[in-house]
Subunit: 490 residues, 2 copies
């Protein structure tokens, strides 16, 4: 392969960046930390959005839209939240520019805001300030709302999709009458994320809870799904937070219960972002470029004619046109690339780079033999397949590829969850085999911090339904009742 993609083994980080750029997914913009999502990358994001949006609606949620700007004072209202979010953010201080008379555009100092506005890093505060007007009685609950939006968190070191100053996401914000209902919602949405990650993105995940240190600012409990990338580092793919009554208290949101009592509302919030694109790319791709699971591939099948002259092409195109109709009838998205400005080999490389799951090539001899040449992107296998029944063959193969990509990632993940029973063993695993390390921890923030400082590994989560077993903390030797998952992470 000579597409200018760095080999994964040589430099994983550069390999990732090369794929994002060369597969036309995204690029850095001229605004520090902000990316441009290019049409091909955005079309994958649109598929992600469509599937998730349907899942949110199927679980009873509606979309709404809240302001981009949040008054600075709102961040001070919830004590923990302010520590987490009112730091690195974009601050709007003025609302007018003017010409200074010398042809320069300058900020009009007379147009200074009385209170600065923060570009939302997350919307709990503005939304809970709004919910105060929407919730009066238990009849108004549960309130199940989601927002698709852009958010801004000022980042000094950015990576395309994985960490950018502006990113796109969805944030669900729900209000409930009881603690139990809110916890159920938190868990339900974690399941939605896990289902999406595994069955659409083909990325296996561990569902778990964050330690208090790693919780969302203002949450009583943060649930997460953690995925493993091919370099053995973990990536948090989605979070779902049980917020208790913290935001309801901070923004004075009460409801009259069935029993006629005035009570504070219980809250959840949950979100996934364009970071999922990073996970999708890193989980499956190879040195030839992107590998996409069929369910999220904007183009599932590309057809390239191999022809000499117009007459040859016309024959092939007649067959292809009919095939496309049949495939579309089966819900398969197809692109027919009959450009004569590029040679077949160029096209093959391009679609390989872009991760199109199935490539068909059809030449004169194939037409005579009533066959096509089929290439699988994930395994790079090639087959000669009969034209008869090709549409259902392809539909079935797409399902098989989806499964196969998941299984490969799952096997890798399973092979990269290792138990460590001493700190020495722990450190060797981190620098050697990598992956998730399952180890005993004494449950204190101090230990967690020291391990992080010494090894750069964090506790990714305490897996749900974790096995209870007696053990001793790898660092302190203090007693522990369960193992937790450590890893270095994105």
């Amino acid at each position: 392969m000579s597409k200018g993609i760095t080999s994964k083994k040589d430099d994983y980080s550069q390999w990732y960046n090369d794929i994002v750029i060369k597969a036309d997914l995204a690029e850095h913009s001229s605004v520090k930390g902000c990316m441009v999502i290019k049409p091909y990358g955005y079309s994958i994001w649109e598929k992600i959005q469509a599937v998730l949006d349907q899942k949110f609606k199927d679980t009873g949620h509606s979309n709404a839209y809240f302001p981009l700007f949040i008054p600075k004072s709102y961040f001070s209202k919830e004590a923990a939240h302010v520590e987490g979010f009112a730091t690195e953010c974009a601050v709007v201080t003025h609302y007018r520019l003017k010409n200074d008379g010398n042809g320069n555009i300058v900020v009009d100092e007379t147009a200074k805001l009385e209170e600065e506005l923060i570009v939302r890093p997350t919307s709990e505060t503005i939304i809970w300030n709004t919910y105060r007007g929407w919730i009066e009685s238990y009849r108004d609950l549960p309130l199940l709302i989601n927002q698709w939006a852009n958010v801004v968190r000022w980042e000094m070191r950015t990576r395309l999709f994985l960490r950018t100053t502006e990113f796109l996401w969805q944030e669900g914000h729900t209000a409930h009458a009881t603690s139990q209902e809110a916890i159920e919602e938190t868990e339900r949405m974690l399941d939605v994320y896990a289902d999406f990650s595994e069955n659409w993105m083909a990325v296996p995940v561990v569902k778990g809870k964050k330690t208090p240190t790693e919780r969302f600012a203002g949450a009583l409990e943060t649930y997460c799904i953690e995925a493993l990338m091919q370099d053995g580092k973990a990536l948090q793919a989605g979070t779902s937070h049980f917020l208790g009554q913290n935001f309801a208290k901070a923004f004075d949101v009460k409801f009259t219960s069935k029993e006629g009592k005035l009570e504070h509302v219980w809250a959840t919030s949950w979100g996934v972002s364009t970071r999922l694109m990073g996970a999708l790319i890193m989980a499956h791709s190879d040195d030839a470029g992107l590998v996409l699971p069929p369910k999220l591939a904007p183009i599932q099948v590309v057809i390239v004619p191999i022809y000499k002259g117009e007459e040859d092409l016309a024959k092939i195109s007649t067959f292809v046109d009919e095939l496309i109709l049949k495939l579309k009838g089966l819900g398969v998205s197809v692109k027919y690339d009959s450009r004569d400005s590029q040679r077949p080999g160029f096209k093959f490389a391009e679609y390989e780079l872009k991760g199109v799951p199935i490539r068909l090539a059809i030449g004169g001899r194939d037409m005579e033999n009533k066959t096509v040449e089929l290439a699988r992107r994930d395994t790079k296998e090639k087959f000669t397949v009969a034209q008869e029944g090709l549409d259902t063959y392809i539909a079935n193969l797409l399902e098989e590829i989806q499964e196969s990509i998941y299984n490969k990632a799952h096997q890798f993940r399973e092979e990269h969850i290792t138990e460590a029973n001493s700190y020495q063993e722990f450190k060797e695993l981190l620098d050697g085999k990598t992956g998730f390390i399952s180890a005993h921890w004494d449950g204190t923030a101090e230990t967690e911090k020291q391990i992080k400082e010494e090894t750069k590994a964090t506790i990714r989560c305490i897996p749900l339904n974790n096995k209870q077993e007696d053990g001793v903390c790898i660092l302190t030797g203090k007693p522990s009742t369960q193992r937790v998952l450590f890893a270095r992470a994105y």
Copy 2:
């Protein structure tokens, strides 16, 4: 009707506001000039988005995403653009907040940006700065891209949906090899907007060109669609701009032509926004609330059971469940409201307020007679309809309602395009009958300005395919070759 909606005749502006609020479409947020789009309002916007997005894709466009922030200096690069946009806008000057030690969150003055960032009021500058890297050869053209995004234009006087500081929109930005192709694109997208407005929103529009004074800042030609609201004021529902080579020159975007010459690229941009929601509401609604054309109604049919006791309800529900399946099969969206916490009369009023096109009520006697009571929202007519064949009856009726709403708006518009042949007549029409006034104009910006200052009427457009006729300007008496459309406008 006593839903707290001000009568349209008493106070049109308050009537509009009442409908937006009471029908749960949107509300003012605590951030000055920014609105919250509530779930019901947002579900209409989602339908608008879905239809337009498909139309954009059907005409060859792809979506992408560009940064929210634009460096201040970019606005100075295109001379006309800076005058139009670098004034009332949100300016980001800092990127960090800090605790001042007394528990107050303040702006960290050490985190001041070297160059201020502007929250995009429109994205021509950042996009054309990006296109420089994407376009090299005629093979890269046309580049047909659309973005769904939020934009901010600081507004002192705001109205929900019609004029807000932050609003949602789509902005198309295309690049072409020739002037002619760019003009064709500009006109094609104007046609898409007109088609959408008339055939989905049921709002008839006049297609035309803006006068030089009213053009988009940086455009050589601005096309628009103009709609007429029930108070006789015009509303610009969409614009499509031919930008010539202005942005290509400002951002140095060149391509190698087929002939091997290096040339500047030709540009268009076009957009519609949540303002369409305002047009949709104002064009059709009445004193009982919102009236929605079926094609954009989130709920097309609501079914309310009238029952005494569980047994009665069970019988009705059995019938309704089957009906819903059939309706869904025909692509009709249905809501069955069997809440027992509210009486039928309350529900009737609520769905009337929310503009649900068809309401069915079904009681015990209806079940015996094998009928239902059907109410049309637009005409407020009620019919007794046979249960036999009800699904296709409803599907057909929805089409009839769509047409009927359009015809009513079209008739109103036709009755409110009036020719004026003197300034006196012109002024009388503005204050009396209102609507579009077709009048001769001498073609100068001075006359346009004086008429605007004296009457608040602006030239909405020079209609496409305008009839050429000799006349004299209503203000100056100078010769004119065609009439243009004036109106007071939103």
